[in-house]
Symmetry: C2
Subunit: 194 residues, 2 copies
Amino acid sequence: MDLEFILLGMLHQPASGYDLKCDFDAGPRYFWSAELSQIYPALQKMQRRGWLRSHRQASPHGPERRVYVRTAKGSRSLHAWLRGEPVIGTQRLAYIGQLIFMGELADRARTRVFLKRLRDRLNAMAELLESAERGLRAREATTPAQPLGHQFHELLCLRMGIASLRAKIAVCDEGLRLIRRQGPRRPGQRGGGK
Amino acid sequence: MDLEFILLGMLHQPASGYDLKCDFDAGPRYFWSAELSQIYPALQKMQRRGWLRSHRQASPHGPERRVYVRTAKGSRSLHAWLRGEPVIGTQRLAYIGQLIFMGELADRARTRVFLKRLRDRLNAMAELLESAERGLRAREATTPAQPLGHQFHELLCLRMGIASLRAKIAVCDEGLRLIRRQGPRRPGQRGGGK
DNA sequence: CCACGCATGTAATAGGTTACATGATTTA
DNA sequence: TAAATCATGTAACCTATTACATGCGTGG
């Protein structure tokens, strides 16, 4: 259900299924993702329900496109969702599970490598969002935009993603510092040194 | 697949499907969740694969329990997963979608209410994790534990969750401040005043 | 001509939630 | 005795990923 509302939101201007997939992959949509094989049937279903209209359109680069347009009914559905309670949704952060259970290996070198790799991954995501933020700020400088309009909301979302990632990265670094402070011991070696 | 490894990790000591479900609901497992109807078949499948053994055991509180124990083969599988790359997994944060598209409503009172509610929800989760952290630190004070053992890893995970939530809450507050600074205008009213 | 990007779809499978069926023990 | 907690499971459904099928247009 939520996917449909998100597609509805992304259709503030007409777009094809392919366009929407590109939007999902474009980084700022870090909070959700979907495959084409999920998007196409969803759009068809939404059209049957009267939330969208569509028409075929020639493409300059390839085969004919099917462009979807949101109807008034679709807008009403979206707005009802927006006015509702915040939908928390689900997280499946397998890396947290790996980190919790990694104590079992009792191998601080492993934990160190893991934390470094995790930090790198999180950092790469953060940099993506940060470049999107810079892009948004640049657009803001040229076009004035209304005081608390779309750009304000998009900026908040980006900052939330960035802040969350940076906070996690800081905890990785904290963990790495603690390991370093304990000195380089291999598994099997028993502790005792200050 | 990841669910199975997480169950394997949770089975560092023998447990029933019901026990594991309680663990998932107990907060510290904020990063993942599963229903009983998913857990029971998963355990059966893992037993068929030789990762677990199980035996029936009378319960003092109700019907007979089926208690699962991890085998050496199960431990090897888990450890291979732990030594592998960090698994990023998926997020489906519908509330970020709501916030992005909320610009369309052009109703700052709505955005304000939404941000307040979101902050409250995130705060409730953070408090849950913080109480788990206090509990862990209390246990740490009594039992010494090895330098970088299970408690170290669990603490890192808790801190990561807490830090991420607190960072998001700070962005909510930042958004609320910006809205307040713009003064209380209703939708339809056009901006302009400094 | 082949690889790549553009473009739309279906089929098979895996992962996850909600609803249902059953029954024991404890507590109000 | 009714409700709550403990306990295990299946069935139906929804959501999501991977694999497959098709075909246009551009550039090497």
